[in-house]
Symmetry: C2
Subunit: 691 residues, 2 copies
Amino acid sequence: MNNLLSPKSVAVVGASDRSGWSNSALTNFEKVGFSGDLYLVNRRGGIVHGHQAYASCAEIGAPIDLALLLVGADTLPAALEDVAAAGISTAVVLAAGFSETGDAGHRAQEQIVSLATRFGITLVGPNCLGFVNMLDKVAAWSAQLPPLMTGSVAVVSQSGATAHTIAAFAGEQGIGVSHVVSTGNEGMLDTVEMAMLLVDDPRVRSIAMFMESIRDPARFCTLARRAASLEKPVVALKVGSSVLAAEIAMSHTGALVGDDRLIDTAFAQYGVVRADSIEELVITAGLLAHTGPLPEGGLGVVSMSGGACDLIADRAENLGVELPGLAADTRLRLSEVLPNFCTVRNPLDATGAASADPSLFRDAIEAIATDPAVALTAAIHVLPTEERGDRIKQRLEIVAPAFAAAVGRTMLVDQTISVIDESTVMNMDSIGIPYAINGIHHMVQAVGHAISWSKWLRKDRGEPTTSGDRIDVDTTAAWSEADALKLLSSQGVPVVQHRHVTTQEDAVVASAELGFPVVVKLVSPEILHKSDIGGVMLNVDSEDAVRLAFERVEAAARSVPEATMDGVLVSTMRSGGLELIVGVVVDPQWGPTLAVGFGGIWVHIADDTALRILPVTKSDIAEMLSELRGASLFAGARGSKPVDMDHLAGTILDIVNLAGRLGDQLLSLEINPLRVDGSTIEALDAAIEWI
Amino acid sequence: MNNLLSPKSVAVVGASDRSGWSNSALTNFEKVGFSGDLYLVNRRGGIVHGHQAYASCAEIGAPIDLALLLVGADTLPAALEDVAAAGISTAVVLAAGFSETGDAGHRAQEQIVSLATRFGITLVGPNCLGFVNMLDKVAAWSAQLPPLMTGSVAVVSQSGATAHTIAAFAGEQGIGVSHVVSTGNEGMLDTVEMAMLLVDDPRVRSIAMFMESIRDPARFCTLARRAASLEKPVVALKVGSSVLAAEIAMSHTGALVGDDRLIDTAFAQYGVVRADSIEELVITAGLLAHTGPLPEGGLGVVSMSGGACDLIADRAENLGVELPGLAADTRLRLSEVLPNFCTVRNPLDATGAASADPSLFRDAIEAIATDPAVALTAAIHVLPTEERGDRIKQRLEIVAPAFAAAVGRTMLVDQTISVIDESTVMNMDSIGIPYAINGIHHMVQAVGHAISWSKWLRKDRGEPTTSGDRIDVDTTAAWSEADALKLLSSQGVPVVQHRHVTTQEDAVVASAELGFPVVVKLVSPEILHKSDIGGVMLNVDSEDAVRLAFERVEAAARSVPEATMDGVLVSTMRSGGLELIVGVVVDPQWGPTLAVGFGGIWVHIADDTALRILPVTKSDIAEMLSELRGASLFAGARGSKPVDMDHLAGTILDIVNLAGRLGDQLLSLEINPLRVDGSTIEALDAAIEWI
């Protein structure tokens, strides 16, 4: 498997002078300088592409590492049989007409996969363009290749056309790729498995992925953990954030598209950088392949244009990228270097003076790049393209020594995005400029990702505690609020004082015991949203009012034909404090997740919830609480008591652990609201649902 | 003034073989093909750039339209004197060292401006690079010009370096410019005035502006209105933030507003498109210059890649760009054209079949481009660059007829951003492809702007009513809540039942009259935020409680040394309903503004306010209410009554008109909360501040 992407001998099956795919594949092998053995197979034999073709793989009579199958869907089974007969264990399948075309195609694909499995053949595809390995000079790629540079960014994409676009864009941005892999319909290997094959290669320094779906979240996490342990970034463009894209992806490669917020959460938790455009994907992966993990600190900027500084300052604030203040020492150095009328700050406008005297620009870059608060420095200047001629090259030769002051952490940045072609890269090499990005807008974004990812790598993530023993409960029947509160209470989660009673008079007694005012709520396993049907009476403040409330709740229950009423809950009426919503929801793909947010009607407006995939630590929960836009309310708003945050995080962890002990039939455990008032924390309502 | 940018004779003052500026200027005049009279002036005379130079402008002895002054700041006064002596009425001033360098420079600039004014000279600059007029072939530009194409986008920028960057990027995107103007320190003419000179030119079809500040909002509005009346878009990249935020933040609503939000509001109200990057600025201005106002409808997309469709769908949803569903007729046409396995939708993936058969791609484009719901169609395909050779050109020749089906509303779009050079534009011209954009990500953004701007143009904006007669009030002393409520009430704005009393016993009597529970609030002109110091007692439900509340409020007042207590307000305690915040705040730059949002502690979390610069119509206010994220609450949430929206908008308009009648000493009038419950609307608290 590890050699799948570096075959030394390849059979091109379905080779034909009349096939564009075949012509492209042959041209590509030549273009990348494949030095292994290449065999052409055409069932009619004869001369193909100027060489004698074999009628079958079996006829070749030499060991072959990979078969590139250019044949159509109809002859694919026969081709696989021949591949097996020749003892070839890996095949790239171009043929389309499988799961992307609907149910019949899906069944056809299953047959192909089971055939390959029986023959012991590992399939790439079907419906894929294959792969290019620039490092080992293999191009099992059946379409025209764009101009590529060899480097350390591995590109993995479900879509072959998009793999092409990504690779072409990298080529246009002076970013070298190690591999370009398309997985197509992913009959056997998906993008995550391909990335797993690439991540350990020491020559691969970052992975750029294009994904329509994450088929196996557990495997995705394994990849993310492996990449993190090697300090290699995974940058992923995961489409399907819109409803429409989710539909398209279904028909495109037959992929399932997950809930987008959960994808965001998973990426953030596992340190995978999420990009929203091909430009962002490539520029970020390229930068991170160059820098690796950055030290602590922000972005330093030296420019000759005030306008560029304005643009960078706005963009950085917008994306939350820090432009740190400079150390006293740096400020002193800069004030010695710069003319009086320059203002010493970051971003630094070295003005036209730096244009007139490039050594001034050099000294300013060096001062900022070596500032302890600066992790990465951008020198804003046009690139030494051939068209710009010798004047720019000569100027940059004076500036270049500054790039050695903070190796791997200083780059040249042109203001707008353009092309960085091979001649520009060669000019940079000869001048001594190790890295460049085109476009302030894209640069700040990529730097933001690089800084966040590096911070994520440095973070101490701790060990989540395990939940403890399974609690044995009846998961076959629907649970009422009373059932849920009883369980919470029995397991040490604080619950508001309440009585579960079945008669009007018991309700009166209970309310007298609890003290007025009380809340009277319908208990019915069939009705989850009691308040929507008038099943919740708040502020009930006398015995008569309790009787009336009981009758109204009964009437509400009768309004729902299929519902059974199991009496009422009488509980102490609370007011003031903050209302949170705490839910453990089991996602069919990602498993148990935790959502924490502010409750009440405002939850819909504020859209202010934090989300994590479980397990989590108590400090993860504290982090979630601090992420809420309304987090300042915890400090005590308008006279309310400050919340005991440690106690709150601990209580939420208790709820999470309780959910973990309820077994795999749990669908959701939701507390809404969890009332928080100073150090008083209690569940006012709860619901448990089973699968 | 109208001929400022199209001089027929120019004197270059400070021309010298040793000056880079001078060399650049001469080269530029030649490059653009200036056919007027060009005179070189050097005080030493002699041969400059191979021509006989004049020692002064006065010596030339011919009528001259423009002086391009390349002299330094020190000799500028003498040069202006010479310019005046020669009867030249316009001068472009390159010299730096003025207001950009601080106070002394600022004074020097004022002297230069008053000198020019005295001489009757209109100045461009100082500290500017000048201007280029591609249409009339004038290049009074004193730096190296990037490669430019002639077209209909006028570029206006304060920063000369940024003007250069914008123009260069336009040149790299195949977008032709009509003018490139830099205004520098704007001693006399700012970007808005320059844009005013350009907007009436029928050859100018859009204006791309880079601004660090809007010096005169009224003039900016005049420009916006003029451009709108001509149906010409103004696209502006406004960087930085103004110094005025602090003043605005003096009152509570002001703190919610913020300076940059006001710019956003002004742009949205006056139909100016706001861009955040140079790429967005140029690509949007280029597209709009090509299309002009679009008909109603959304974006249609035809691609050969499912990945591209995914990306477009995500990006469009993210930016709120509509990808309309297709008409039955269009669907039928497409199903006849496309292979069975294609899914008929928008965005359309015509699959590899369209690559194999370009006529299929053509027919699909034509079907979508002529759909009644589609305003603009993007055909996703690589561009016919020279490097891609004849194969792509031939394919596009087959496709091109589709572009004629919806003239000016169909374009070619490459997936990622790259360069569209002159040879590509020429290839497009010869093939018959009228427009192209590079990069899906940038395209969707530009299309979104084009659709929104066109919608704005079509909107019936109505006529705001005038406020009515001035109300004579004492604006010299600070006003308490009681003063504010009294005014509101006297002017017909509904206010909660309340009594202003000064003794404990009167408070008891008042509360008995109003009925329990009541609210007891401190009245003090010096204390605006009463609740922060414990000056508000809610839910006071007995006579004893009123006495206690009075004492507590007294204590609260004593805790603020400089405050005087003017008794208490006793008002009916309200609960339920929705709480809004309505504020009229006078911005020192933009004048009176209206902010409407949800009130209470949640206002800080939800960050959910709508903002307008006054005047507004009632339907503007209705629109503001509908913009709030929590707008669904108006329909009645969790059993509360639906709000009478017409009544609410009317009440807010009454508040706005009342504010307008309070004269120009008003700083802010804020009602927080304005309680809304069904058709019951009343102010529970109000504050008025004077300048």
